[in-house]
Amino acid sequence: MDRKRISIGLGAAWLVCVAALAFFLYYGQKYLLCFREQQQMFFFDWRYVSGLLAEPGGFSVLCARFLTQFFRPLWVGPVVTSLLAGGSAWFIWKSMERTGAGWEVFPLSFLAPAFGIVSLLDVQYFYQGLVALFLASAALSFYNRCACRKGSARVGLGSVLVLALFLLAGPVALLFGVSALVCDLVAMRRRRGGSVLMPVLAVSIGWLSVLCGSVPTMRYSCTPAFYYELMSPGIPFIHNLSWILLPVSLVAGLLSKVAGKRGTFFKVLTCAFALILVVIPFRISYFRTLNRDLMRFCRMEVLASRQDWNGIIRICSHDVRSLDDLNYLNLALAEKGILQDDLFKYPQAGPESLIVDEKSESAIDMLRLSHILFSMGNMAAAQSMAFNANQAFANNPSMLKILVQVDLMRGTYDVARKNIGLLKKSLNYRSWARDQERFLDNDALLEKDPVLGNGRRDFPEDGDFVLRSSAFDDLRRIVKVNPDDLKARQYALAYMMLSGNSD
């Protein structure tokens, strides 16, 4: 086959793989990716941008947050993610090609990006991990493209790329350094021994960044742990695989040197074998890493944050899996004003069907609890919970919205103004925040608003603490002080029905 036909064929194969990946992600991971829009926020603000850029790897964080803000439509996350992974694969392939690999090992270029996607199944693994892999692959491709230079110039270029990558994308610079060394060894380039300098430089920069106090330890400055939630004591091994498999796939390019000496049939066999090497481990790892409870939570949370109550009811009408599901279902029914009527159309499990683990300090639980407490009219508890959840996620737009609303209800307008100012710097919540500005310092208008006015009347006139005994004790006081709050009243009646208590 001539080179042109091979290139066209590989381009077509790449397109098919990326499209297949996008469909796979859409059907399997769309809510999880959509939740990333809630998990990280991008602000159009120079201080925010410059603050991130000043940190090692800040550019990848910035890119990740910029991209995830577009993930609100369900199809965008899968498409962008498959393009990023596909882009990485293409750049890896270009590097493999430069080291003498033939078309028959093309599927191996997807090995590392595929595991990058597996990592995204864990919400504690940040999206910047995939962005960093993309940047490292692009740098590697560029390095290999320029690899015809003299040995010292090549290593010089590689060293510059290592430094730039560390600043822009963090420890992925080491992955690049190791991969570049592997490429030089596989391609038997001149003065390849000098290429050891690149990984050594990456480790040295990492060590310096630790000494400067920019990165906690060498584990963070040299491994994918950098892209994992810092609060976690350890990172699951699966997240290291995309890094391990990138140099491995480059070495595996040697296979084609063996295959190249045989006929086309053997090449096709090698290609099929390479495809199996990618697909089967990916499939096994994907389904082993997949956390169905987390997927379910993300789906519910995405729908709740969009106030898509019909969506929640539709899902739960044929499939209620847990008390959390029931909490979301009953929240949706309450928001639609049919909790009292439709309560027993669905399987219920006592008062905990309305709110469970109400004092939980888990970040994920706090998101659910904030929505429910807000709907119950327990505004102070919702505020406390939303604040803590917002902190746990380092800005979550749904929680910021609750904080704005409760501060407006309380009349603490200066605080509300700050959070409105923050939301105004975001793409998706700018118009909502601008709309809330009309309530600032305008008690008369606020009290006429069905949500804010009603919420203001929900605060019990006593000096007691929220959730001191239970959410239902608080609910009694709310209904007493504001009997016109339909949602609180429905929740109170539902509680009585579910607990068999008619007091």
């Binding site: 106090g213 700050k418 000096g463 007691d464």
Partner: protein, 488 residues
């Protein structure tokens, strides 16, 4: 090249002329500015007090003083003094006033607001301010850190950030007599321990013992550096349903103890560890011979009776040579008699004034809107409110400069939630001047967008040089030294 230089000089002359305007009349009103720096007294080494005019239109600022006059053109309402020019200006104006006049263009005419003055004190303030930046949290946080701000410029650097130790809580930083080489702070949850820096050496202490109710909490260094007084507290936090204070932090039990930093032993007096009382917020006198603390009659059940807990200000003698306490406790401010509660007693280094926070009840005055700063002349013992420092909102934590002239305190007066540091000058009569907000390059933008509180502002006499990595290594990699209780 010559032509370029001529153009540059002409351009500079044009720009400087452009700033100066002819004042056509007076508006007879005060200008709306942020921060309110009108009538404040400032140390002669403070960073430029940039401020914003809050109205619309084209504005200029006329600055007059012993240095001469200067016109400043605003950028989007912000008046910025250059750092070097500001320093020269303050150098020439020590002990005198700067007069500032905001001039606004209205209907084509330049009209002046009422001028206001800034008094430049002869004295300087310690060059650094250390504080913790954290969300005004109910319980959660993501990032927090202890920072140091160069008060002579706008430079701010982290002393420690919790990202280095898995986002744990770092709190209660304290310096021995404002010495940057001798400090401590606590780390909680992950990698817990007390980080003790002594003459640059960093170590970790495990401060929970079997016979104390908690790890060591609120610290205060003995002037010798050999001892540190702490409280031990069983602290709880609850969120109000409908109360302007939002949060109540209360102790269900607390005691005061003193740590010997050389032997790592703690000692206490039965009078600072009474089961009938909650003792907290210890402070040594500048001569190191007295230990001041707050004490309230123990109340239960908590939190039901939280508003019944009122702390008196007490004093017990302390003998640093024998590491022992006196036999009697003096009450300097009686909560039962006055109906108010004392927190954060702090004595000026010259030993003349004691400033404390007074609120309706409890000890966590940082969340009490009625919390105000009071002072007591230690000779007469008479307490009086520091009205010029107080506002309708919270005034709480405070600390003294080394020369006893300046006090920094935290206040929520800005927006009711986020604490900000204010500085004030104390005169020989023990009365403070009007306080001023910590200067920033663009204070309006900075403070309106900053989503964290300044916590525990403490003056420091120099830059803290111990590296973040050394601290995190000690926290992560060392077992720490166990603190023990001194045998009776």
């Amino acid at each position: 090249m010559k032509r370029l230089a001529v153009f540059l000089v002409l351009g500079l002359i044009f720009l400087s002329c452009d700033r100066q305007v002819r004042i056509d009349g007076s508006l007879g009103t005060d200008p709306g500015i942020y921060p309110d720096y009108a009538g404040v007294t400032i140390p002669s080494n403070i960073a430029p007090l940039n401020f914003s005019y809050l109205g619309d239109g084209e504005v200029r600022l006329l600055v007059e003083g012993a240095f001469g006059t200067r016109w400043i053109k605003s950028r989007k309402g912000l008046f910025s003094f250059g750092l070097n020019r500001w320093r020269k200006m303050l150098d020439k104006c020590k002990g005198s006033d700067l007069t500032l006049t905001v001039v606004v263009k209205k209907e084509g005419r330049w009209q002046a607001f009422n001028p206001f003055s800034i008094t430049v004190s002869d004295s300087q303030v310690d060059p650094y301010l250390a504080f913790r930046l954290l969300p005004p949290g109910y319980q959660g946080w993501y990032e927090m850190g202890i920072y140091q701000r160069d008060l002579e410029s706008y430079s701010q650097k982290a002393i420690y950030r919790n990202v280095l130790t898995q986002r744990n809580c770092v709190n209660c930083h304290s310096f021995r007599d404002r010495d940057p080489g001798n400090m401590l702070f606590h780390a909680r949850e992950r990698f817990a321990g007390t980080v003790m820096v002594r003459d640059g050496e960093v170590r970790k202490l495990n401060t929970k013992t079997d016979s104390t109710i908690s790890a060591l909490v609120y610290p205060y260094w003995h002037p010798s550096g050999k001892y540190v007084a702490f409280s031990v507290n069983e602290t709880h936090q609850s969120f109000f349903n409908h109360d302007p204070n939002r949060i109540e932090v209360f102790d269900a039990a607390s005691d005061v103890v003193v740590l010997d930093t050389e032997t790592n032993e703690i000692a206490y007096s039965p009078l600072t560890r009474s089961p009938e009382a909650f003792e907290t917020f210890p402070t040594f006198s500048p001569d190191g011979r007295s230990l001041y603390f707050c004490s309230a009659k123990a109340v239960s059940p908590m939190p039901k009776e939280y508003s019944e807990v009122k702390y008196s200000l007490c004093r017990i003698s302390f003998d640093p040579e024998s590491f022992s306490f006196g036999d009697t406790v003096d009450t300097l401010y009686s909560a039962p008699l006055n109906g108010k509660s004392v927190s954060f007693p702090r004595i000026s280094p010259d030993g003349k004034l004691l400033v404390f926070t007074l609120s309706g009840y409890g000890n966590f005055s940082i969340w009490h809107k009625d919390a105000d700063l009071w002072a007591a002349d230690l000779e007469s013992g008479e307490p009086y409110p520091l009205d010029r420092l107080n506002s309708e909102n919270v005034e709480s934590y405070h600390s003294w400069s080394g020369n006893s002239k300046w006090l920094v305190f935290s206040s929520r007066r800005g927006d009711g939630l986020y604490t900000r540091p204010y500085l004030a000058c104390f005169g020989p009569d023990g009365k403070p001047s009007k306080p001023f907000l910590l200067p920033q390059r663009n204070p309006l933008k900075y403070y309106s967008e900053l989503m964290v509180s300044f916590n525990i502002p403490e003056f420091v006499s120099g830059k803290v040089r111990v590296g973040k990595h050394r601290i995190s290594s000690v926290l992560r990699n060392t077992e720490g030294t166990n603190v023990t209780v001194k045998a009776e």
